[in-house]
Assembly symmetry: C3
Homo-oligomer: 673 residues x 3
């Protein structure tokens, strides 16, 4: 088993220039590229007219790959439909949130429900599976591309109504779950159900949540439809699609619940595009965010994932697309491996000459490889990856889990009340991740997919939408000896965003040993303090006013009308303990608090000492107990780090000294074997 | 007669849980709640299918209220239509400013012209009036809710054309009034008339003005239609609807001309939601804005008004919804009484469990009343209000009037020219109100509804749109001995926004004793100065360049090409005097200027001395001459204030000392009786 | 031949008040107004009903003009259609970028393709030409007004498809030129071609470019259609339309390629509205931008142009519309003459009383001329202009040319990659113009219309889109001894925005003697330096990493991974030299660099010495060698300037001293005759 190195390749753009394709494979070989992904967006080449297929060029790509000992990931073309298809079957195009019928254009502009679209996708997918399903070089099926978006057409409305009938059974149940009496929104006929849209209703929160759930389910349904077509001729090859992150902070992709979708794909793969070298954060700050999301996506299936796309240097869709500095590509790619990837794949293998992505980073760019620094850095990484095949299948072992939930995320974005402009759920998740990151403590970011067993510490920031099932699971975990941390804005609403009687989900206050009176919010410039062990720490945005019942007060508020009241508490519950952090603080308090908790729970990190927080040390371990240490310097200065003794540098095969010295942007990989 | 304490109550949300409603009335009683408003938005409960009515639950609410000695304000349900109604009669939904047909959703999403909507509203209103018109507990009819918005459907276009025919008679008259020759906009057929919209015309200012006038008239017409249905069975109970304010600065609601609408309702009621404890202004700064708008709405009918909605603590629709600090609720509510309210009513009596307003402040919140600070503060106010029934019907007596005009406001927003980004009409109104507020001088904010007789001082800031009738009225007032203050940007345009020949309405320059040459405007960072009595004050945004004819120069410009020319002047006119303030200054000059004017006109304030401007002292007086003093401390520190001797504290019944000491956010009510 | 002084006049607004028109002509005469432009937007007066024409009022205007010895520019009314026309032929209205059918309203809201619109325009234009084509006072035809905008209706889609067929012949050629294989955008039927729109495709860059080209061509086609109607009865009178600038920085109008349109009109005329006295730049900074764009528009036909519109004082469509300070009108108007205008015409001669432009500056404003400063300043300019008739037809002589290209501009705006938020093409053009402006060196801003012969220096900033034809032209110029300066972001893409193989247009690197590796971009706060002759200059936004082959290195980078590599180079090529400026710097480096280049190329400026950069000296020269010097002080302080000896002040007829002293905002005109 090999780490995969390669990526998205669109040779159909150069069919009139076969020497270009020849040249590409020569360069691939030199850079130790072992995998290409082809076929995505190629529909108009594969099927230039309805039911007229042309696979010549794709046959040749397989041939070339096999000649060169490379593997092929075969994409289905549904991410962009041909003009003829949209002309003949206009219903394949989406209806947008203003209920306007889209015209042909862009990618991802197709209705997932459209009978016509599904039929055309079935036909082309079957053709591909029939022809290529048995090719020896076929490594994986890659369905469509970055599934996303939603459609408000009549077919989708019907599907949504059906989905709702399946979920609730009766309109009465929907009306109760949605609290539809409010503002006379009661449905008295199923035809009254309609997707949230800018011309009608956007403020029924349960409807918004269900619509997002439906969009996830319908997207998965479309994925399964695509997969069924593939499976007709190809059943032994893994099938997947590529996931994404959102915003420059690399937060989980918001439009789809990947904790559901992750269970469906055979392997999680995703597209990772951090804006390295920006001017609003250090590379180390950004590395933390990259670490967080990889720790999350690894947990979706609790197995190594694949980076399906990344850029060899810059992208083209940030506002400012800065090239990676020398060394950064190897460092950044090593981080992906460190957090559980078994690949570094790229978008794109060769830069296109025209249209919107021509200036996206690529292995082979417009400037020829011989004098192109980007290509040289890719080749250097290829060399490293060829030494790391032992890594394949190994996992991170973590004592700490941070809980994330997509539905909670959606509900928080919809909250009408409190400090809407400062909800900052993702910022808070990063804040609670940071103390562990700084101390090189492995963390799993987990979701409803994961068990809590085996974790010494479970952190649940801002779990506003909180099901009874989840509470039972947490209670069992704590009763059995686990330690949990809850925060402000927790346990307020059920799965259809109805507030629990009393303001908090029954059982939570009991477990925490507290009684909550109100949630104070601050305008941006307003502050309070928590007093903890003789020091004072700033509070902003949120402060829960509460009394302890059975809990012990750990910190108190410094001012305002609840001065002196508990701000942080801990309760003994079963064999475990349940912490409540009532206020939003800065990193100073969180570091102090979690530092003490790590000591108390005897959780240790991967490093012994280091010259700077900009160094990160992560580990993976294979089933035989061999451990890999990834020592990564995210500063542009020389840094040192101490790691356990007896490790070997995989690039030299020699033992390393007690104190490692790393150049700016250098990453080392060590092994215990 | 009692002050009303209570508010909007939606028990229809808990029909499956009757114990909740039982509990509610117990808590109401404890908190001295004496009034509930019910029925708004309840259409889908009242008429779950067309022509099938169910009043069981509403009967029970009346029963419960009467058992508890409470009064009921009965709302009509037209603020939100049921799904079945919109499905069957799609024309009841609005067409928006992009001429798109809205879908079902939200509130206030109905065409005021729709024949179908009017018919269904008539039917349900008649049913309500027939059934409840004679209930002893029925205090008032509350039609719909917060009338607002506009519709661009074909029925509305027809109504607009008819309205225009009634107003102008001929197309020729319209063309002349609109100056339609410009850009060939001449109407040559009535069908050419169309509402301003984003796909067509937005820049014919007279059309924009007339459209706003039509929207006000059509809204009133709809109100009258609702009222006629009520009056069929209920003629002796007052009828009203709730008005609103706009923006975080609590400016007059912009979409409707309340000086027209105010004449139609039996009593003015409105919904007051200041963002207390924000971080861009002090509580005292905000209190000034609250004072201003209450002084305006009281004047609409020159009688006490009702606060129909307010929040016991926070709202849910600000960006940041901060709870009121302890004491603030009593203080803020006392201010409403001080400025002329005979009620403190809330939205809402019990927080809903779901949908968009579940986190809006409420008397009974999600956290049970026993440990809910908000409920305790409401109960404390209930106690105070029970001691103040003598207040009912009493009025503020003012020597100073500030003039506000909705049509002028609309016209100013449309001005193409000068400093569009710094028109700041409302800011200017507050600026001219502040010197009186600081000195605790009672002020009436008046409109075209009010007479000028009896005021010693009339302030008319930025009266850009200025009718000849208004000028005649001002002239008569000044001739008879009154004092008027005009400012820059005054008297430029007539009622259809045509510029007067010569640039200023004939007669105004004569009354002011000046001749205006031009209006200079400044970019935001540019400044001039006025020199007044040996001091210099900064000028920004606007400076009128003018010459005095018969007027006396009071202040001159400090720089620029009109350095040394008059900036402020006064003219003797009849028995009175007419001031002109040519430049926009800061509070320093305005305080100085109005301070001298108050002395000169022997206008005195309600306080004698106070330790801070954050204390406000307002008075109300009943028909027998009993005067109530409201002494309110809008700072969180202890403050002192001196008021006339011989007053009694209504909460103790004891005389108060010469110097009152108030805790942070404390309000006292004193009486001369 | 006279300089034209006058402008847009809309007497049709006062037909019911003939005395107003009488008065106007009296005032015109006093202010030495010699030209009026009439007829624009008068359609509903000229043709109040279909095929019913009324020319009475227009006859009278001609009569009045002729009585007063004035000339008339006659406008066609197509800039705004009457209501009756839009009602009867709805297809004359535009379909917008969201594919919504516009309603009647605004100006410029008509489809240029509409058969109905063209027919109605033909008829009214012919009527005008027939009636007025032979009037002795007719000076020029002014077609429509400020052609702009685009339409997405079906007629336009058809026209666009035809245009594309004419250009490319086959769909295959289009697909190749557009790189349509990318994302399966391949056209397989001509019906697939559609304009870029917000509901469909916006990211096919070649399509965007071709759409802009089509819009230009279709606008020109409409112009020609209008002209043909005129020419039926009037062939000897010049025909034109008025061009515009864009944004507060007065950049070239973006929606139309004036280098194409300029060749069609008989004389270039344009509307110049700088925001004098703003608070983000000095008057001198703004004067530079005014100079730049006038130097560009003069070059479109290489002959003097006309200022068709300008404001006597303020406008009404800026955010803040500040009046010109005393003297500024004469100064600003003199600058227009200095850069090649043979007119100062105004919008508008009399301010309208209503609608959107009533507060736009005008010769006769709302305040009567007798006490209106604006009118006095206009009259003072009229006096000066009457002394300058010798100027008519004279031209600026320049040794320096800066190259600008509309298509390059469009392509740069579309670039997906690099620093999208800091492309700043126009800012860069101004930066490269500034060193010459400061030294009073005449500059021509040239386009594809112009020859390079005769220029000693050719500056080509950011020529991203670069045709092979242009390169051949530059190569020939340099080979023959010319000096050219290229910058970062040059020569990357061809005319359909396909990246050239190798990343740069073949031949450019050879001419420059360099080899480009990559283009680094910086986030806003990031910096590098160039080291040039012992000094260091800051670099921001862009830095090209390149090696010299035959070129000489002039400056090197100060830091980052390419520290010490060439940043600026020069190559000997043929008899000339080719400079490459790899990095974006501030004015410090550009001044130094171009200062040395001017010395080396022995290019001299118009001034010898001056007390401040806020003084500008420009020259025009007639065919007999008489040179006019315009010495302009853009500061509000007294400044001095030295000009060559032996010049005469045109206003006094007397020789001037060696050192001129100018008052704040004063402009002098000197002559060598």
């Amino acid at each position: 088993m090999k780490l995969l190195h390669g990526g998205d390749y669109f040779p159909e753009q150069w069919l009139t220039r076969p020497e270009t394709i020849e040249e590409d494979f020569k360069y691939f070989k030199e850079a130790k590229i072992n995998t290409v992904t082809v076929g995505m967006f190629a529909w108009s080449i594969l099927e230039p007219e309805e039911n007229h297929f042309d696979f010549t060029w794709l046959d040749q790509v397989f041939d070339k790959a096999e000649e060169n000992g490379m593997k092929v990931i075969l994409g289905t073309p549904s991410g962009a439909r041909p003009n003829w298809l949209a002309s003949k079957y206009p219903d394949v195009l989406r209806v947008n949130e203003r209920l306007e019928q889209n015209r042909f254009g862009g990618r991802h502009n197709h209705c997932f429900t459209s009978v016509n679209y599904r039929e055309r996708v079935r036909i082309v997918n079957e053709k591909l599976a029939e022809r290529y399903g048995q090719r020896e070089s076929l490594l994986m099926w890659h369905l469509s591309n970055e599934y996303s978006g939603e459609c408000h057409c009549d077919q989708c409305q019907s599907a949504f109504r059906l989905w709702m009938q399946n979920k609730y059974g009766t309109l009465e149940a929907v009306n109760q779950a949605y609290w539809n009496t409010f503002w006379s929104h009661t449905y008295s006929d199923w035809s009254h159900v309609h997707s949230p849209n800018h011309l009608g209703e956007m403020a029924v929160h349960a409807l918004n949540l269900d619509w997002r759930r439906f969009v996830t389910d319908q997207t998965i349904d479309f994925y399964l439809h695509e997969r069924a077509a593939i499976n007709k001729y190809s059943t032994d090859i893994p099938v997947t699609t590529n996931f994404m992150a959102d915003t420059e902070h690399l937060i989980p992709f918001q439009a789809l619940d990947y904790s559901k979708f992750g269970k469906i794909v055979d392997i999680v793969t995703w597209d990772c595009y951090p804006a390295w070298h920006n001017d609003w954060e250090t590379e180390a700050d950004l590395a933390l965010k990259v670490g967080f999301i990889n720790d999350l996506y690894r947990g979706l299936k609790e197995m190594p994932f694949l980076i399906m796309e990344s850029s060899p240097s810059f992208v083209n869709w940030h506002d400012i697309n800065r090239p990676k500095r020398p060394g950064m590509h190897k460092l950044a790619s090593t981080q992906l491996l460190a957090h559980g990837s078994d690949s570094v794949l790229y978008f794109q293998m060769r830069a296109s000459k025209g249209s919107s992505e021509k200036f996206h980073g690529s292995v082979i760019g417009h400037v020829p490889p011989e004098r192109n620094r980007v290509y040289q850095e890719v080749a250097s990484l290829g060399e490293r990856m060829s030494q790391l095949d032992g890594l394949v299948g190994s996992m991170k072992q973590s004592d700490v889990a941070i809980y994330y939930d997509w539905e909670n995320d959606w509900a928080i974005k919809d909250i009408q009340g409190f400090s809407k402009t400062n909800m900052n759920y993702h910022h808070t998740l990063h804040d609670h991740y940071r103390p562990f990151w700084r101390q090189d403590v492995n963390v799993d970011v987990i979701t409803k997919n994961n068990d809590f067993d085996g974790y010494k510490l479970l952190v649940m920031p801002m779990m506003y939408l909180h099901s009874r099932d989840l509470l039972a699971k947490v209670q069992a975990y704590v009763e059995a000896g686990g330690t949990v941390v809850y925060t402000y804005m927790s346990g307020m609403a059920n799965e259809t965003d109805l507030v629990y009687d009393g303001g908090t989900i029954p059982g939570l206050e009991d477990m925490l040993g507290i009684m909550i009176s109100e949630t104070d919010v601050y305008y941006p410039s307003q502050r309070n303090q928590v007093k903890f062990q003789d020091a004072s720490y700033e509070v902003h945005d949120y402060a829960t006013v509460f009394e302890t019942t059975s809990a012990e007060t750990l910190a108190i508020y410094g001012s305002d009308f609840y001065q002196g009241q508990a701000a942080v508490s801990v309760n003994h519950y079963g064999k475990g303990q349940a912490y409540f952090m009532g206020a939003r603080t800065g990193d100073d308090f969180l570091s102090k608090f979690y530092g003490e908790l790590l000591d108390q729970l005897t959780i240790v990190g991967n490093s012994i000492a280091k010259s700077s927080d900009s160094v990160s040390v992560q580990t993976r371990e294979d089933s035989e107990g061999t451990r890999y240490y990834f020592v990564m310097n995210f500063s542009d200065q020389v840094q040192t780090a101490e790691v356990p003794q007896g490790l070997i540098d995989v690039s030299t095969g020699l033992p390393v000294e007690a104190t490692l010295a790393l150049q700016g942007f250098e990453a080392m990989v060590l092994t215990s074997k």
